[in-house]
């Protein structure tokens, strides 16, 4: 048995080496750089944990992390909720052209984030689609340059995340529902359960694994978001849409503060790990 497990490790070794080289080493390297004051070119100086205390004390960095929490709602909570509703509705009714709807809702997942960002930037512009729609229904008063509005820019970006992530969740949950034993639904119906009851008694428990996967993927996307902010607002107006991913970019590539950038990167990594760990723990238990 013991010898067998050694052999098993041997099988893992090639994969592990690649993993170590391209994931663990850079991760360790980042953590190590975060302990230095380094501009990316000349000799760095050891500063211990100074970068961490300094960045944690920086109000801009803290705001960036608080924006991440808003993104968690828009990128993860909302799409998972919407995905559940869409999936259970679509699976109940034999819709004509179901495949078409599924494709359309999933489409945002296929498009690159840069294209998504630029398209939405135009839609949110003062003469863009959103405002045209608003004035078409007589809501001119609400029209504004959305991405330039200190209150609305962050939710506006969040909704783009919802739009992108909902399709993924829906497809995931549709697949999950099709795996649920049809006799469970029959039994529920025989017992007189309505669609809502059926959803909570049969569908939801049956989708636990898919929900863990969906939440993990969307949470990671929410917390590490960078590209959407980069192509739309650049963190503005003011710092209203700044997120940790963009802060790292600013520090490392614009300000030449590589050590500080690495410190924020390490904190972000730890945060993502913690949240994902929590999700998997919670969903392992009974719902």
């Amino acid at each position: 048995m013991r010898a067998n497990s050694r052999v098993a490790y041997l099988y893992i070794l090639p994969g592990f080496l690649v993993f170590a080289l391209f994931v663990l080493m850079p991760l360790g390297h980042t953590a190590w750089l975060s302990l230095y004051d380094w501009d990316g070119i000349t000799l760095g100086t050891w500063t211990g944990l100074d970068n961490y205390t300094e960045q944690l004390a920086d109000p801009d960095v803290r705001t960036a992390f608080s924006h991440s929490m808003v993104f968690l709602f828009f990128f993860a909570a909302l799409p998972v909720g919407l995905g559940l509703v869409l999936a259970s509705v679509l699976s109940r009714f034999r819709l004509r052209g179901l495949g078409f709807f599924r494709t359309v809702i999933f489409l945002p997942q296929v498009v690159t984030a840069v294209v998504v960002g630029i398209a939405w930037r135009w839609m949110y512009a003062d003469e863009g689609t959103i405002n045209q729609l608003l004035s078409a229904v007589g809501l001119d008063g609400l029209a504004r340059a959305w991405l330039g509005d200190f209150t609305w820019a962050l939710p506006a970006l969040g909704l783009v995340g919802t739009w992108v992530m909902s399709g993924l969740c829906m497809v995931l949950f549709l697949a999950g529902i099709s795996k649920i034993d049809a006799s469970l639904y029959e039994a529920a119906r025989v017992d007189g359960a309505g669609p809502v009851r059926e959803f909570f008694a049969v569908t939801l428990p049956g989708l636990k694994q898919e929900m863990a996967v969906g939440l993990t993927l969307t949470t990671i996307a929410a917390l590490r978001s960078f590209d959407l902010v980069y192509v739309t607002t650049g963190g503005g107006p003011g710092n209203a849409t700044n997120v940790p991913g963009f802060e790292i970019y600013k520090l490392a590539f614009r300000q030449g503060a590589v050590g500080e950038a690495c410190a924020v990167a390490v904190m972000l990594t730890v945060l993502i790990f913690t949240v994902v760990l929590l999700i998997t723990r919670l969903l392992r238990e009974k719902l």
Binding site: H29, T42, L43, T45, A125, A145, P237, G238, Q255
Partner: protein, 449 residues
């Protein structure tokens, strides 16, 4: 499972211990103060590489000059290589420290490119060549100072010369000729008050006085800095950008300029969608007739002229007091530097000199440059924005009045100042708050207050 965790921890430890020394490299041995510089060229075949990020016509001008140089010196080949700016900035440090570093490279002023390269000892000081070729007669001091750095790469504006630029850029006021005619406004403005009157007139007529696309946050800063160039004494402004001791952003001139911008925003002189409109879309709106004026840089000139065809003009941001010399936010284009590693510094310097000789200014002008060396480089189309731009450029150059860019002051100044300008325009911050935020960054990074 526990074993894997231990393995990972062990591996991380190994990684850390193997590389347990500070990142980066100590500065290379500074090149000996250029030994016996000479304008004599070698007779054997020589090939020099030149890295740049000049797009379109400007890049073409460099290629034309390289070809012309080779005609004059058949044994010398200059090979220009273009890299898009977005990649160039990220790679230049690696490129210049590599074994195959280009002989000549474009390196932007201040801390983003030139500073780290000087600090790492990768650029050759050019003062001896400046003497040899008489560059201080060809260029105004303000044009050379912005390419000077202290040997340790920490402070710029004084010290050794590390680059020579081909042209310049500046910020001024674009205007829509049709709208001015309708409103009865004439240019140039004799003073800032006259310009403000024009803004009020435009507003009263229901027009958008100033078009601005400020989604990227830096375009709005150019409006502020062009106002600072008027209100703040020129020397003070330069001292602040160069990070000289005792300089401050909290001065009467800057206060007045910041207050003026805040008032313009409040009075509705600036397009209310500015913060949600990209720079490029802002130019698009101006071209389509939304906006009487647009305070922007020379880099938008060709797009405006192409699309408005004689309907657009350009004039300087006027001084506070009529008759005072014209000042503008602006600088030279990114200067060309010589690698400390090149085997042929004499040839490299000779080619840089060649590019900026008066007889080649016409080539630069046709490529879209505002040449720094020669005032009458070419004739612009009558009634174009180019005409006004060239005139303004010459006025500013005549009195060495380029005020440089505020974000050069510290590596994080852009990320501090630009969002604050967005907030100022939206009325989310006061002029005093903006000034203290900015000055705090300056004092922190400069280590003096």
């Amino acid at each position: 499972m526990p074993l894997t965790i231990r393995t990972i921890a062990g591996l991380a430890l190994i990684t850390a211990s193997v590389t347990a020394c500070a990142p980066g490299a100590a500065p290379a041995e500074a090149p000996d103060a250029v030994k016996a510089v000479s304008s004599a060229l070698p007779t054997e075949p020589v090939t020099l590489t030149l890295s740049h990020f000049e797009e379109g016509g400007q890049g073409k001008a460099i290629e034309l000059l390289a070809a012309k140089y080779q005609q004059l010196h058949p044994n010398i080949t200059i090979k220009p290589t273009y890299t898009a700016f977005a990649d160039y900035g990220k790679n230049i440090k690696l490129q210049m420290s590599s074994e195959s570093a280009p002989d000549i490279a474009q390196a932007g002023q201040a801390q983003t490119m030139q500073g780290p390269l000087v600090q790492a000892g990768l650029l050759r000081p050019l003062d001896e060549y400046a003497k040899l070729y008489g560059w201080s007669e060809r260029f105004k001091p303000g044009l050379l100072d912005q390419a000077r750095f202290s040997k340790d790469g920490k402070t710029f504006g004084t010290g050794e010369l590390y680059g020579i630029a081909l042209g310049g850029n500046l910020v001024g006021v674009y205007y829509n000729r049709d709208k001015l005619a309708k409103l009865g406004i004439t240019t140039p403005f004799k003073d800032l008050a006259a310009f403000q009157d024009a803004l009020a007139k435009a507003k009263a007529a229901g027009e958008t006085p100033i078009q601005l696309g400020n989604l990227e946050a830096w375009p709005g800063n150019h409006v502020l800095s062009d106002l600072i160039a008027q209100y703040e004494p020129h020397e003070n402004g330069l001292n602040w950008v160069y990070g000289r001791k005792g300089a401050t952003f909290d001065s009467p001139g800057v206060q007045q300029a910041t207050k003026t911008l805040a008032e313009w925003a409040k009075a509705g002189y600036i397009d209310s969608s500015a913060n949600g409109t990209s720079d490029s879309d802002g130019v698009g709106k101006f071209v389509k007739g939304k906006g009487v004026f647009m305070v922007s840089g020379s880099w938008n000139r060709s797009r405006i002229d192409e699309n408005m065809d004689g309907k657009a003009g350009f004039t300087a941001m006027p001084p506070v007091k009529a008759g005072d010399p014209i000042r503008a936010t602006g600088a030279t284009t990114s200067p060309f530097s010589i690698s400390a590693k090149t085997r042929y510094p004499d040839v490299a310097a000779n080619f840089i000199d060649f590019m900026t000789r008066p007889e080649n200014a016409a080539t630069l002008f046709q490529g879209g440059y505002l040449p720094v060396a020669e005032r009458d480089a070419g004739i612009s189309k009558a009634g174009s924005a180019q005409e006004g731009l060239v005139e303004t450029w010459q006025q500013v150059l005549a009195d060495d009045g380029l005020a440089l860019y505020l974000d050069w002051a510290t590596p994080s100044m852009g990320d501090t100042l630009f969002p604050a300008v967005q907030q100022l325009i939206a009325g989310k911050t006061t002029p005093d708050e903006l000034i203290s935020t900015v000055q705090e960054n300056w004092a922190d990074e400069r280590g003096n207050g």
